[in-house]
């Protein structure tokens, strides 16, 4: 701090340097600094600082010293006029500022959220240099199956060995394993990682050392939360935890969990990747099976595009034709962009546009009301011109008024956003906060500038151009040019509002469609939970115990929850009787399931039979396929045909009707059901009667079979809903945004209608005296607005149709675009607009004509 106090402000010194003649500058600055220090020592740093700045003013040449106070005076005059204007027309100012504030608040929240989403994973040091390797398959006719986030285990080691651009690579794979300490036993999210994972992602060690974390294969690293869960306040380092029933692991490190805004799903335990070898005999340098997510960090200065070009054709020694290409995805894109494009980023773009729209609508309000009132201000402009105001001075005045309004609105907007934030957080499912950060201030300042410029530009340009003589003679009629602009702007506002309304209806229509669609399996009352090894050993006993309960329909084991499967065969890995060429052909999705799968999942057989507990042979060499697979293979009667998947020969014993394993964005993939394969999930379907009792029964039974087992289940229906979380959240935000757009548009319309009614007070009075009814006055005043909003419909419909059709294209299964949606949106806009305008018109019509004729 002392360093700062010793020297005068650099800006002030620079300014002084500009103002003092260069020949004597050095000496003068030295004198001033000497005095400054003297003053600082005697009177304190602040006084000295203030004194130094004061000198800048004193050095100013005289003419400048004269100008500044006058500019200030003029500015104060403008400020006074602006405030008087606001005060005189309270209603219109209220509309202006409220509209602007609401628009800005919406904009602020939307951009705050979008910024949060875009910043995902950005906190990792080197985030810009980290990429995920993924696979793109050449699978004809199956665009949905082309991308897979998992790679073979050989990819990581090969990339680090053969490509100098790759500084480090880490393979990861997730499981749910039971971790126990004495009688504490929980199923925990476990991640098997290479040791390079720690440096790649800069994992922070709270205890233990990064370098020696995975010295032995039985070493494990846990998170702080997990340490607390199992050990409380005790030191976990060097303690042991039992992994499943397999081995005792020694804790060599405690790490901090990643923050919430990362694509990584939470993990509790990190285990050396090499454990796969002794545990399951897996080959860790293999090209055949894709199972692992591989991250790489590029060396400094290496280009990702260049590397991507090199590795795309990286051939797998075991595959003769190039059906797989390795691709790279930036770490920072993983949250927002799905493989192959699409994802959250689409919605972020949509909302960026919606935010801008709302702000535009609010600015249009200001512009409209300003032009409408222009005839009133014209006299002021004329007078100012007569006494010598230049055009640029007047333009500055009007722009300044607009800036003042938008500044006031910005303050209100921040407050409104702050008040609304808890609701917004609920909608987005995020923990955003407004802290008046530098970012927020810059953002609001930007909006203030933009809104001020947009809103003030018309009066600043047009109003200042009038000739004072015309105005002062009382000819204000000539200012009607703004009318067309005004009409155009109202049409624009309502087009946007109608567009958004249609958008909301389409999104909700699709969500409803998804919700009510028959997925081909019974999603209701089904729970799933991770299967651990010990439970798997005694699964038949568990099943028998549950079978007696009348609240349970069935119990089965699968390789993944029935809402998604990441397992695919890969292109050209399957063969069937009558297959035309050997090594090409479609990729099939794979779902491992046991004999009870048909009843538990509620699937329907189309032909043949399902795996049966009575046929022990079914365990090994049979498969069931779905109808899509039968079509993909071109087989009319597939049952009984020979089939080979990877190295496994089998007979097709049955065909199930198609059902949706993944989100409705994707078409139903060809699917192979393998008996008892890779099972790590339990699915239990209940009848729905006395659900709580049934769940308690399941939990008790589990403890009976596997002592200490804690049931942590999830409902399949909830998991399905999560698949569409982005859509649901976007729908909610869009609904609020639309409401706001309509509300702000109507505010503007209200102001405009009130203004017109007031301007035509005398005309209305005369009409009324001559016998016009209130109804005819209302018609007179609202007719033109009716036409504008109607016109807005014509603009909005084709645009909305185009946008909605494009959005729906991202779904393989989609609801139809119904004409009634367009009609409803249009009618609603018309109705709201007419109510707004009609209210004002009615008031004007009802006014006592005697009083209005005495007007002016």
């Amino acid at each position: 701090m002392s360093g700062r106090e010793q020297a005068p402000s650099r800006l002030a010194a620079w300014l002084l340097g500009r103002l003092i003649r260069p020949e004597i500058r050095e000496g003068a600055l030295g004198d001033l600094e000497e005095q400054f220090r003297d003053l600082a020592a005697r009177r304190g740093a602040f006084r000295a600082w203030f004194w130094y700045w004061r000198q800048v003013l004193v050095v100013l040449p005289g003419f400048l010293r004269n100008t500044i106070p006058w500019s200030v005076t003029m500015f104060l005059n403008y400020l006074k006029i602006a405030l008087r204007q606001m005060n005189r027309q309270k209603f219109i100012s209220f509309i202006n500022i409220t509209g602007l504030a609401l628009g800005m608040a919406a904009c602020l929240l939307i951009y705050l959220w979008a910024g949060h989403e875009l910043a995902y994973d950005g906190f990792f040091p080197n985030a810009d240099n980290i990429y995920r390797v993924y696979c793109e398959y050449d699978v004809p006719d199956q665009p949905a199956q082309r991308y897979s986030p998992v790679t073979p285990s050989a990819v990581g080691p090969t990339l680090t060995r053969d490509f100098p651009e790759v500084a480090a690579a880490a393979r990861t794979c997730r499981h749910y394993w039971s971790i126990s300490r004495q009688d504490h036993r929980f199923t925990e999210p476990v991640c098997l990682v290479d040791p390079s994972f720690f440096t790649l992602f800069s994992v922070e060690f709270v205890a233990g050392k990064r370098e020696s974390a995975f010295e032995k294969i039985t070493d494990i690293v846990i998170t702080e939360e997990l340490a607390r869960k199992y050990f409380g306040a005790a030191d976990p380092l060097g303690q042991t935890l039992r992994v499943e029933t397999w081995y005792d692991a020694r804790i060599t490190g405690v790490v901090r969990s990643f923050p919430e805004n990362t694509h990584f799903r939470p993990f509790g335990v990190l285990i050396p990747f090499d454990l796969y070898k002794p545990l399951w005999g897996r080959d860790l340098n293999d090209w055949k099976t894709s199972n692992y997510v591989t991250y790489i960090r590029l060396a400094d200065g290496a280009s990702a595009t260049a590397l991507a070009g090199k590795i795309a054709g990286l051939r797998q020694p075991h595959v003769t034709d190039g059906t797989v290409h390795l691709r790279l995805q930036a770490l920072t894109d993983m949250h927002t962009t799905e493989l192959g494009g699409g994802g959250l980023v689409v919605y972020l773009n949509i909302f960026a546009l919606v935010g801008a729209f709302i702000l535009l609508i609010a600015c249009v309000n200001y512009m409209n009301l300003a032009t409408a009132r222009s005839s009133r201000r014209a006299r002021e402009v004329g007078l100012r011109k007569v006494v010598g105001a230049g055009r640029s001075q007047l333009a500055r005045q009007f722009l300044g008024e607009a800036f003042l309004s938008s500044l006031l609105a910005a303050v209100l907007a921040w407050l409104a956003a702050w008040l609304f934030l808890p609701v917004f957080n609920e909608m987005t499912g995020r923990e955003l906060s407004l802290v008046l950060s530098w970012w927020e201030i810059r953002f609001l300042a930007g909006i203030v500038l933009l809104a001020g410029l947009l809103a003030g530009s018309y009066p600043a340009l047009v109003l200042t151009a009038v000739r004072p003589v015309t105005i002062l003679r009382g000819l204000t009629r000539g200012l009607g040019g703004g009318q067309w602009l005004r009409r155009g702007l109202v049409v624009l506002q309502f087009s946007i509002a109608i567009f958004l309304m249609i958008g909301v209806m389409v999104v909700y229509g699709q969500l409803d469609y998804i919700d009510t669609m028959d997925l081909g399996f019974a999603k209701e009352h089904m729970i799933t939970f991770p299967l651990d090894n010990e439970l798997n050993q005694s699964f038949e006993r568990f099943r028998r115990l549950l079978a007696d309960h009348d609240g349970i329909v069935g119990v089965t084991r699968t390789n993944s929850p029935p809402t998604y499967t990441e397992s695919t065969t890969g292109g050209g890995k399957i063969w069937w009787e009558g297959k035309p060429a050997a090594d090409t052909g479609p990729s099939f999705a794979v779902l491992g399931v046991d004999e009870a799968g048909l009843d538990t999942l509620g699937l329907n057989l189309a032909a043949g039979r399902f795996f049966s507990p009575d046929c022990p042979a079914d365990r090994q060499d049979t498969v069931v396929i779905n109808e899509a697979a039968a079509r993909a293979m071109g087989l009319d009667s597939p049952v009984g045909k020979r089939f080979r998947i990877w190295d496994r020969s089998a007979t097709i014993i049955g065909v199930v009707k198609d059902f949706h394993l993944s989100s409705l964005h994707r078409a139903i993939d060809p699917l192979v059901l393998l008996p008892r394969w890779g099972e790590d999930t339990v699915c239990i379907r209940m009848t729905g009667r006395d659900q709580a009792g049934t769940l308690a029964f399941i939990s008790d039974t589990l403890r009976q079979v596997v002592p200490g087992f804690t049931l942590e289940y999830r409902f399949v229906e909830h998991m399905l809903a999560e698949e569409y979380l982005t859509e649901i959240r976007s729908g909610t935000i869009l609904r609020y945004a639309t409401f706001l757009a309509i509300f702000i548009s109507c505010l503007g319309l209200l102001g405009l209608a009130a203004f017109t009614a007031e301007q035509r007070t005398k005309e209305i009075g005369i009409r009324r005296v001559l016998g016009a009814s209130v109804g005819s006055v209302v018609t007179l005043l609202s007719r033109e607005y009716f036409i504008w909003v109607l016109l807005a419909n014509l603009v909005a419909w084709p645009l909305a149709w185009w946008a909605a059709a494009r959005w729906l294209e991202s779904y393989a299964y989609r609801s139809d675009l119904e004409f009634h949606m367009f009609l409803t949106a249009g009618a609603a806009a018309l109705l709201i607009a007419m109510l707004t305008v009609g209210g004002q018109a009615w008031r004007a019509g009802r006014a006592n004509p005697v009083r209005s004729l005495r007007h002016e």
Binding site: E23, E33, Q55
Partner: protein
Amino acid sequence: MKLLSRIEEVLLLAIWRLQDEAYGVPIREEVIRATSQHWHLGAIYGPLGRLYKNGYVFTVEGEPTPERGGRSKVFYRLTAKGREALRELYRVNQELWAGISVVELEEEP
């Protein structure tokens, strides 16, 4: 010879009086002492610059000192033209005041 403005005159006199010690800070103090009016330090550089430009004063650099942010003191000295100007001013002042009694000025009319 063109006559100097009052502040220029005061500054020139202050510089002459201070001789070897004539740099910004004491010049200002001398001006304040002589005129009994407050002068901002910043306010002397405008006229001082004019005096320099018109060749009434020249500058001599001293040693840099830390309390001045490493800058040298710059001392001002009168040039021949400066001395000439002061002589001229003295003559004009004498002429202007000749025969005027301050006592009479103090009397109420």
